[in-house]
């Protein structure tokens, strides 16, 4: 029986150097921590989304109509984006909402005043009711002229 050389290492011992041996307890600990870390990241992402949520902006209730001189005396100007009309009468600037007081349709400008395209209500040029079904006048809106001559229309209540 020949003796093995003293500097020779067993073959299987060389291969074991490339494999990290880990105990079962260590593996479970690593897996658990990894899963918890992922949970934390996902939860954090959800929290960031929740905190950064931006609701749809409320419709504007204030409109800058520009220079008041753009609205000559006697004029009636449609402000489509505000669903309103600006009147420049003898008493100054007034504004009427084009939302019909009957059932909320958008009233159209007519030669003799205003007409609702849904149910036929008609209003006089000053917004007072002419015939039904609407039984109330068109709503007036607040309009102001700033010190630098700008017209600001307020459609909010």
């Amino acid at each position: 029986m020949s003796a093995m050389p003293s500097n020779a290492e067993p073959k299987d011992s060389l291969e074991d150097r490339s494999v990290v041996r880990i105990s079962r307890a260590s593996f479970l600990s690593l897996a658990g921590k990894s899963l918890l870390a992922l949970c934390g990241l996902l939860g954090l992402r959800g929290l960031v989304e929740f905190m950064s949520f931006q609701p749809d902006p409320a419709p504007p209730t204030q409109f800058d109509l520009g220079d008041a001189s753009s609205y000559p005396p006697g004029s009636r100007t449609l402000i489509s984006e505000a669903r309103a009309v600006v009147l420049h009468g003898e008493a100054g600037f007034t504004a009427l909402s084009l939302i019909c007081p009957h059932l909320g349709c958008t009233v159209a400008l007519a030669p003799e005043g205003y007409a609702c395209p849904c149910h036929g209500s008609r209003f006089k040029p000053d917004g007072s009711e002419q015939n039904g079904p609407a039984i109330q006048p068109m709503n007036t809106l607040r309009i102001e002229e700033t010190s630098n001559g700008q017209l600001i229309l307020h459609t909010g209540s």
């Binding site: 307890a25 479970l28 600990s29 897996a31 658990g32 921590k33 899963l35 918890l36 992922l38 949970c39 996902l42 939860g43 992402r45 959800g46 749809d56 419709p59 939302i99 019909c100 009957h102 059932l103 909320g104 349709c105 958008t106 395209p117 849904c118 149910h119 036929g120 008609r122 002419q130 015939n131 039904g132 079904p133």
Partner: protein, 412 residues
Amino acid sequence: MRLSTVLAAGILLLALLAAAWLQYRQTTPVALTPTLTGKVEYCLTCHKDLEEISPSHPVESFGCVSCHGGERLALNADLAHSTMRGGANPSDLSVVEASCGGANCHSGNAQDNRDHIQRVLTSVQTTYAGAIAQIRYSFGAQPDLTARYGTESVQAYQKTDPKALPSLLKFDPVQESSPYIIAFAANCLNCHLQSEPLPGTLYNRFTGCAACHTTTAGKDPEQSIHQLTTAISYAQCNTCHNRGNYNLAGMQFEPRTDQPTDRLHDYYQPIAQLTRCEWTLDCADCHTRHEAMGDGNLYSSKADIRYVQCRTCHGTQDELPLTRTIQRSDDLALRMAFLNPVIDLKEGDTILVTDKGEPLWNIRPLPDGTYELFGKANGQRFTFRPVKGSTCQQKPDQQESRYCHECHAIER
């Protein structure tokens, strides 16, 4: 770390991933804030391609929930639809007050002629009182033809006609002893505004207001129709009024089996006499809103409410038809013409009226002594002459339409 902890972490991760996936899949809502309610609703998320139901009910103003009910913020179809009124038809009479009512809309305002719901609920089209009374009288269950029962119990909305009844009880076939009346209840109550139609495209209609105001005749019953109209053609009336005959011996409905190809023959009664206007015009061209929708009185029969005759438009040998000049901008005739603009009507125009004062707003006299009529369903213009000044020899005491038919009916 214990195995159970790892498993718990894994389950937590899966739950978070599932939540993220569901969030990813969630539909982005399409918001609408109708001017009528000012409350946001998400119905258009799924229904944005639905056609506008009518020019009088724009979705921007009314939204969906005002009429249909439902959960306005739900993005799940089942939840969103769970509280809808009347399923797909909010005009069903069981829910119509909540859907279409209100003094600004269609109920309770008689002065402004906005009491459609009250009138319809008491009309013979809804109560079916005449048919029930006729059958009960014919088979000995009541001594005369005065109605006692309707499809539902109902009180009169008003009592302005001497023939009108104060109330009707709900017709209950269980209380009947005649097998014919019981069979009638089982087989023949298919043609009132609260009943589902018989199967078939020609009978296809909704219940309630939409039975007449939605054009369904001839269309696939499975087809989704989102439409209301005042331009009602005879075909829509025919979903009830031209379907076939009731066999009183067997107490069975027998649908017509022929397939007429023209209007003249498209009427189920082979012995019916029709004059030209009866097979060229639409029913609504002559018959009024009170005849069709009721006037608030409870009647025993349709004969008590149907009153337009040939003479209403043609007059008699001695008298021209009644007319009225529109003097106010809120005249009902102008409103009718606005909702169905087949005629350019304005203040100062003269129109025909019935002997009860209802406006025949689509008919007006012409300077040459003739009259023009615009079809409500299609706007087609017709002209006609009065009887006065013609060679008509009708006797003064025979002014009902049946006497006109003796000379003017067309061979079918």
